[in-house]
Symmetry: C2
Subunit: 422 residues, 2 copies
């Protein structure tokens, strides 16, 4: 016990986690979300916990992955020159009435509030499923001139949707993390250019998540005010969306598709199931009109500002990665978002054993490690847990490997075992 | 324009912000929250924007301060060995009914949900103002043995309260950021020891925020299940709380007080106005009892787990710091949470001027700078904005200072001006 406490500080010094100190545990039970691969795996591995249907808490390991996904997205948004802010989760009813979405947006949670005595009607707030109604009046407060344009601002925040049936684990929730970027322009050319730059930044994000080869840039409906929008769809057998992949383009290395909702039976397309990880949208003046968000041009004439919006689900991407990279033994994290890089298992009877001490020394040297110090568990259980939790590299130190002054190294994805010198 | 775009990347490389690129602006208008010093200053300086009463959005500069406050808190929580997680914002009605707080907690937002067709009654969710009802069942899922105890877990998250009258800016909101830590124990001694360790970690946080000298460890009511709780009260003329400072203890360097709610007119106390920045609470079995959160001792006998909870307002601390450190010219940030360290103002007519180029060179060297490149504004306006925004150090580069190969350096807090070599 004493030695554990002494080395507990390593958690912060060298980013090492002793598994015995983690209050969450892996579980053999299948998760309550029958049918959702991501929720089942992430729950069994101790990454998430279901609070209720469509609502999850992120446990220490799950939160680490989520933060890494957020950091990748943040870096690419910052590289665009977009400014990060944090919009409120609550909003007044009036802004939703101004855009006609208080009644028109089915999934909007409406929150009854304490009513002030002077009001006859009950006060209600929106619990935001999206933030056009918040960001547009906010920008109007600051931006009046063409000189202020173009610019983009984004946030990474929790969103809420009143889903009648929440299923699919993290792929469709009542509460979920999202990055939403909004851009503001004087003219269509500027909007079009920014839109392409964001699409490119998104491709970079999918590349860093190692999802690029499974991602299709998918044309979808643009609603009532834009001919098209684009979705970033990741192939998943259990994905909720059906897309049609353009096979001619694919042969040339161009992964594009159309969503079923606009597919008209054209030939040369292959049907696939996919999960929407992100979508981008030219809003035009859909929101600047109701809020009278305008700019003065060089002659001082007022014109509506054109807007774009660019969403990307952070918790949904976590679910997609969990489901996409898994095998029958458990999760397989890409190095870029793995909670830790190394999962070190000493085969020892006590913390005083050479194997245990060697494991700590390796962890200290390598950094970014989980050390499974749960010596009361069977070796089989500990090896199975390593597979389930899915860190990129597993290292086993046993008396046998020590004899050869080596360690057994397993690549989780390729399932290859090698002996490497200590 | 070209030179601006070229140097735009400095924003990420050397943490430099060109003020012309920031879409938010300072404002001379007093904020809508008449009477709240923090909301007024933070709004005028372009750090926050009011969405509605008691609900604010954090603009780029405000978000930077908030993230720095969160990082300080996170580091001290991690140093305690507590595990960070992220609990859900929504919760099922049932968990609140189990603790008797669905009806008993006035400020709980109750969110109507889509009702499934099989249910006669309308479905409702809680929008969490605090998380005992979420964390206790979660921990019960993982912790059964005395070997798992003690431990602590915390989150930094948005909370919601259905306040009848939201006022005081960030000091009392309907939506606010909070760090909440929960601890779990086999016995009272363990809880008592952990409580003291958290109090010490909190003192360290106030020290890093430079609020230690204004903070009083204040005894307050413990509700129906604990004799006392403790609040970390910061002296503020407009603070909502009244505390009685123990003057005898104060002479010995021990800043302790009692809250008005338990003050019985004892002598040797001085009345002060203060704002509660944090509170800690021994919950005992208040929440483990209704959820039957128990542990098996070494004999296998089941006993209720004892709990502590430890809150600290992140957005409230931002408001307190804004209000506490301000002077008549504006905000004054402690270096530990300032959005940037240096506010550099070149007195120039064009970006080609020596003063402008020198300002950029200094920014590149010093890093962590705002450069006010808004050459179309008057010098007076730009100097006033620097005071209002409150970075620790202002640097002015003018043709006159350049003649002497020097720069004018102003310490924002002491308002001292010095000439320093370039």
């Amino acid at each position: 016990m004493t030695s554990h406490k002494q080395i507990g500080v390593f958690l912060y010094d060298v980013n090492m986690l002793l598994l015995s100190r983690l209050f969450t545990k892996t579980s053999k039970e299948s998760a309550a979300d029958a049918g959702s691969i991501n929720a089942d795996l992430l729950t069994r591995a101790g990454f998430i916990h279901k609070t209720m249907a469509g609502v999850y808490s992120f446990l220490p390991l799950g939160l680490k992955v989520l933060r890494k996904i957020e950091t990748i997205i943040r870096e690419e948004m910052d590289a665009l020159g977009a400014h990060e802010l944090l919009l409120s989760a609550l909003s007044p009813k009036e802004v939703w009435e101004q855009t006609g979405r208080w009644e028109g947006f089915d999934a909007l949670f409406k929150v009854p509030a304490h009513s002030s005595s002077s009001q006859a009607t009950k006060n209600e707030y929106g619990l935001n499923p999206t933030h056009e109604e918040v960001v547009t009046p906010l920008v109007k407060h600051f931006v009046q001139s063409h000189k202020d344009l173009p610019f983009g601002c984004y946030q990474i925040q929790t969103k809420f949707r009143n889903e009648p049936r929440a299923k699919s684990g993290l792929l469709r929730g009542r509460e979920f993390g999202m990055k939403d970027l909004y851009s503001f322009h004087t003219d269509q050319t500027s909007l079009d250019q920014y839109y392409e730059r964001v699409a490119e930044a998104y491709r970079q994000i999918f590349k860093r998540l190692e999802l690029a080869d499974a991602m299709y840039y998918t044309t979808a409906t643009g609603g009532t005010f834009s001919p098209f929008s684009h979705e970033f769809q990741v192939l998943l057998p259990q994905g909720e969306d059906t897309i049609y992949v353009n096979e001619e383009a694919e042969k040339k290395g161009n992964r594009i598709a159309v969503n079923k909702e606009i597919y008209k039976g054209e030939k040369g397309f292959r049907e696939e199931h996919a999960a929407e990880a992100a979508n981008i949208f030219k809003l035009g003046t859909r929101f600047s009109d109701p809020f009278k968000l305008q700019f003065a041009n060089q002659k001082g004439e007022l014109h509506p500002i054109l807007m774009g919006c660019y969403g990307m689900g952070t918790t949904r991407l976590l679910g997609i990665c969990a489901e996409f990279f898994a095998d029958t033994s458990g999760l397989i994290w890409p190095a870029s978002i793995a909670p830790f890089q190394y999962h070190i298992i000493p085969i020892a009877r006590s913390p005083e054993d050479d194997t245990f001490q060697k494991a700590l020394a390796i962890a200290k040297k390598k950094k970014d490690c989980i050390v499974d110090d749960r010596l009361d568990l069977s070796v089989g259980q500990r090896l199975a847990d390593a597979d389930l939790m899915g860190l990129p590299t597993r290292i086993v130190i046993s008396p046998k490997t020590l004899e050869k002054n080596s360690m057994e190294v397993k690549d989780r994805r390729t399932v290859t075992l090698t002996m490497q010198p200590l």
